[in-house]
Symmetry: C2
Subunit: 431 residues, 2 copies
Amino acid sequence: MSKAIAQQAHLASTVLKTLSDEQRSLALYQIKQGLEAAKEDILAANRKDMELAETNKLSASLIKRLDLSKNGKFDSMCDGVLDVSNLEDPLNRVTLATELDDGLTLTRLTCPVGVLLIIFESRPEVIANITALAIKSGNAAILKGGKESLHTFQAMAKVINKVLEDTAVPQNAIQLISTREEVGDLLKQDKYIDLVIPRGSNELVRNIKENTKIPVLGHADGICSIYVDKAADLAKACRIIVDAKTNYPAGCNAVETVLFHSQLVQDGSHEKVLQALREAGVTCHLSSELFKDQPQSVLAQESDFSREFLSLDVAVKSVATVEEAILHINEHSSKHTDCIVTEDKATAEKFLAGIDSAGVYWNCSTRFADGFRYGFGTEVGISTNKIHARGPVGLEGLVCYYYQLRGNGQVAGDYKGAGGTRVFKHKKLNI
Amino acid sequence: MSKAIAQQAHLASTVLKTLSDEQRSLALYQIKQGLEAAKEDILAANRKDMELAETNKLSASLIKRLDLSKNGKFDSMCDGVLDVSNLEDPLNRVTLATELDDGLTLTRLTCPVGVLLIIFESRPEVIANITALAIKSGNAAILKGGKESLHTFQAMAKVINKVLEDTAVPQNAIQLISTREEVGDLLKQDKYIDLVIPRGSNELVRNIKENTKIPVLGHADGICSIYVDKAADLAKACRIIVDAKTNYPAGCNAVETVLFHSQLVQDGSHEKVLQALREAGVTCHLSSELFKDQPQSVLAQESDFSREFLSLDVAVKSVATVEEAILHINEHSSKHTDCIVTEDKATAEKFLAGIDSAGVYWNCSTRFADGFRYGFGTEVGISTNKIHARGPVGLEGLVCYYYQLRGNGQVAGDYKGAGGTRVFKHKKLNI
């Protein structure tokens, strides 16, 4: 069953990759219209999920994430599909062109990755985001939602499947799998599935990474750090750190560790930042050299510096130099997003070059690590991988490339290194 | 032990990534000089490996690959290091720049992947190639050679380690592991090692892929196909297919499957190609519709169409249309390099867009799939991955990217979507 789903997705992907931008974008436009037309049905299904969530006493924050009816969420979901369809085509961009020899031309073009398996929890609007990103980037997608949003998911799946019937996009390009199918079996289909994108809890992501040979794009932990340099503007430091910690503490781009230059600790000016955090309701886990018995202060454990709190808690310690800050972050952070607060450009440049993370910031909140804020329209997730796509992943992170070589009967044996005498020209062409 | 090696490599990588192109290139120049100065010692060690190989009755082709002394191999190895040092710097290239808002600027820059673990068999000159590519691209590398080239490997390692002492490149950036350490333990160091690159037999690659959570770049099989269209120039087809099969049958870019349009079979013109193959000593494994009892012809098994022969054998069948050829190749090829021979541009474009492989060729030999021939100087291998690097992998395949965000105290909470009212400008900047 899982094999058939994956194989159908692969076949659909080989058709989808040959469609024009117009064909892919038109299908998205039709999906947007279809969703809008079915608004009442989808919201009715959503209410059923909400009722079940309340009956099952799920957490208030989870129920809030499930709800599609509030704050214009449904309409902005539909608008999001249109936004993606209006983005520049990420496919068939020529990124390298070389004349190897007379009449033998090499080009490198962007192309879809192939088949994506996307596994997500709760938030049902993700279905529309991901469907849009997948079709626009020419990738077939198998979507597997969480059981909490099952009814909403099924109602939206029905619309999307129906709409695709009348478009150039093969129907199997988007397959919405309800919870009864086993994810475990899909994770074994490495012949047909090219990339797995999990969106959800650390446990979900870690579990998927442990159980598949298919490349996984995403992140388990978001352990972001902010280093407050001796040359920091402390007012900026307060604003940035309070925003990074409290704007959305459950977000992966929230700050979890704050490092102070020891000079700030010696003259007591770090207290201004700690005070601002306490006033915002944050509990500071202070390392021993900083610890004083104050309200909302606890003595930090060593493990707090490798911990994603996802709550109004932050680990705090002092370092002697920017180099020590860089070493600490490269060892403890999850390579997501880290920031320096300083007015000293040379120190900032050292930090920007030395940190080994997907995002390195200077004097601004780590909360900016987000596809919408980066101007990508939307994102399929944030990657802490060190290869392929890093940071917020939009359309560009969903494409790879391939090489075309166009000749006129050329054979390798005529060239030096393979038995012949001809020498390659390797002339760079304008793209 | 393995953990310490990996950790040291990681630490070295965080220094190496901050060095200038001049510092990295100068180190390569010094390595080249060091190798040249030690030519006699290295060739003496190489003779020891050759003698052992003869005593152990290794195959003639393996002994030939071991030999560094013939055909100017040693000198071209040294020149290769210099060639890489003279290539354009692949690091710190700005590939995206967006003003998110006044004074809040996002840039995306290329950066090293981090730590590479490179495992290779026999050919000792690979050490110099890979050391050059790793240092130039700012990556630390752990190199593990095969036991057949142990003495050569140790002699070269001694030189490289000694030379690095006097350069800006940390000594631990290149660690050469002799065969006594266990690869298995290194494959578990996924906290510190970012990418594994195996170069060797299918068994080696498959074994590594089975035994690590670290991304693996490379290919196990090279099953390349050539489709001869009804509008093919048969003289070109003969030249291309004979070169692709016989120029180096053990190469991963050699052709293993030939598909003929059925019209060519009906009028018997495919016989011209088969005859040329037979004259070149090739055994044709013909599917039943083509099979005639002729010399050097055998009836193909179904499995022959998913087989990397690595010998003077080729699987041959007929297809009714170019679409059928594309379907066959997308299902059976190893996504390495596939080719169409035709004079019809529309058919060629359909094939070029429809094939799901790292290289898709029109009227030229699959043997061109090679980093040197593509103009990359040299390569660390050929990737059939669908994400990150595909095809021949040179410097560009050894870099990833990261985002810098430079602000002046901006916080997310001031912007729409995070509680505030400001709207992002998302102004594209010239790169």
